[in-house]
Amino acid sequence: MRITRRLTALLLLAGLCWSVTATAADLEISAPGQQTIPLALTRFLPQAGAPAPAVAEELNAALAADLDLAGLFRFLDPQAFLGDAGRIGLFSTEVDFEQWRLLGAEVLIKGAYSVQGEQLTVEARLFDVPNGRLLAGRRFVGRTLDARRIAHAFADLILKELTGEAGPFDARLAFISTRSGHKELWLMDVDGNNPIRLTDHRSIVLNPDFSPTGKELLFTSYRAGNPDLYRKEIFSGSEARIASYAGLNIAGRYSPDGSTVAATLSRDGDPELYLLARDGALRKRLTTSFGIDVDPNWSPDGRQLAFVSSRLGSPQIFILTLADGATRRLTANGKYDATPAWSPKGDRIAFTRQEGGRFDIYSIRPDGTDERRLTFGPGNLEHPRWSPDGRFLVYSSDAGGKKTLMVMRADGTGARKVTAAGGDASHPAWSPVW
């Protein structure tokens, strides 16, 4: 009897609990409520020595520009920052996370610098605000002139921490500029700062390409009267003409392992693709067709080449498999497609298409599907090249009359100008991260 009573009481209690607990169910959240991460970027503060507002300004500006281009973040308005923004706080115990939570920040960047003579030391930190913990931090030591470079390196580190893949900002852009009066090879930071002239051929230099290590450049120059292929070591400055066959020696591209070079030569009459050794020695003729075969571009695995051919009439993109020499047509929708660039991730090939007398940039999967138009003018947008992480494209634009370089995300958003004033700039190439 007692057992029955207890059992009844238990059942009643269970029933009561059931009545005030929601039943278990699956709730699906199929998209984030915010597609950008709320970021608080505080001003870098002087840690020791005299304040150097110009240095702090450069650090903040370069970092903000890089992170803005990345497209991941929504910057919180610095006007709304509370007292913690005025404190250095390089350790999580020193940061008042509650203030940042109040502002809705999800990640917080804090930093401090000290200038002693020409030496600049920067301490930079990335914090996870909801969890109140340090995500990444690094001390950078350099010259005061390196402030922007330090900011680029930290931006790369932030992307590495938040996406699992480092950014491409601490790299260089090689390009052709007429700033000196001739078409010469130049090098500059990804944001257009610190331009340096690398050649003095006083002729026409074209089509640069970085070696996989980023220490060498291939380019074509008319210095000796003929379009020949040159190789240049960036740090030593030494330069060699590696291919000077009769006719064209153009559009040299290092293979992904850096052991060979694909280029267009017209030594046999028709411009065809050839495989060369690093020193220019001829290894193999790759194409034999009626019409021009130019602009080779390697797949990341080094097994295929995308190139432009007019074998069917108008210029179109084709893909050549090196193992068996098989060739297939990639693009079929345009009348004039050129300058293919295979993404380092291997998933897409960017190219230019002329329509209505104007060039725009497109991308397509290597199997020929999912063609997308990335740009819609104005002007001619040409020579797309990928960033080493495949997130961005750099290209040239003649909108406004003068040729400039532009950078945009791989989906065509966030386009911005990167070259400084002075002369035309074209034929960009993005180096690996140094």
């Binding site: 005030v20 699956d26 984030p32 409520g33 969890n131």
Partner: protein, 262 residues
């Protein structure tokens, strides 16, 4: 001599003629009252008086979790609109312009310019009328009835608000920040998914969460953790304890949007 009335049974209704008149008046009054009642309630027409449901004008879908949310429609139901009549087709033969009297008397043909002016004016008038008709139809279509009930489409309760599950789901989703650029690869975005078991107390406090299935992408999982930490205290208490609910995080909606953008 006093006349003696015969005795009549006092209990009979017809015993007294005054009593009969009173009864008649009473019945008449009853009948009139009944008729009045019928007239007022409308029952004489054979209809049953209906209890009108009070209209609901507004429910805060985010800040009011309730146990038994009421039904409604996600969007107001619009009254059926008559299809606007298309403008009359323009006659293929242009109407003739009235010939000015002076020209008619002189016998000279009417100038082409005058004809074209009139026909242009008529065409403009017709176009304007057609446009006005379209505007009127649009205005009518955009008029939302004020007593439209709003609530959850599948709810069956009677409380103004949303269900606990939907409230928790919406709050966590709002706190989940993840850029598509974090993952980058569309193929990866299409298949990525993580399952998390959560328990919320009645106070709206997140009591526990554990990953039942990780996505395999550190950044994706980290973003979910941040969203849950941000949602550890809901803005409002819950009507019930939410125990061991499985949250499924994926990017299906983003993929659909990406497809649509192409």
């Amino acid at each position: 001599m006093t006349a003696v009335r015969p005795l009549r049974p006092s209990s009979g209704l017809h015993a007294d003629p005054r009593a009969g008149r009173f009864l008649g008046a009473y019945l008449l009054s009853l009948l009139l009252h009944a008729l009045l009642l019928l007239a007022l309630t409308g029952a004489w027409r054979g209809t049953v008086p209906r209890e009108d449901k009070p209209p609901v004008y507004y429910i805060d879908l985010v800040h009011k979790p309730v146990l038994n949310p009421q039904a409604g429609r996600p969007e107001p139901r619009l009254p059926e609109q008559p299809v606007p009549t298309p403008p009359a087709p323009v006659a293929s033969v242009e109407p003739k312009a009235t010939i000015p009297a002076k020209l008619a008397t002189t016998g000279k043909p009417a100038s082409k310019t005058a004809d074209s002016h009139v026909s242009d004016a008529l065409r403009k008038l017709r176009d304007e009328q057609a446009l006005q008709q379209k505007f009127a139809a649009l205005r009518q279509a955009q008029t939302v009835p004020m007593d439209t009930p709003v609530g959850l489409p599948d709810a069956k309760g009677n409380e103004a608000g949303i269900s606990t599950n939907v409230y928790v789901q919406a709050t966590i989703q709002q706190n989940w920040a993840l850029s598509p650029y974090v993952l980058g690869d569309p193929a990866k975005m299409a298949r990525i998914e993580a399952w998390v078991r959560i328990t919320y107390g009645k106070s709206g406090r997140l009591e526990s969460f554990r990953f039942e299935k990780e996505s395999g992408d550190t950044q994706f999982d980290e973003s979910i953790k941040r969203a849950l930490v941000k949602s550890q205290q809901l803005p409002n208490p819950l009507p019930v304890r939410l125990e061991d609910v499985r949250l499924i995080f994926n990017l299906k909606q983003l993929n659909v949007l990406a497809e649509l953008r192409r």
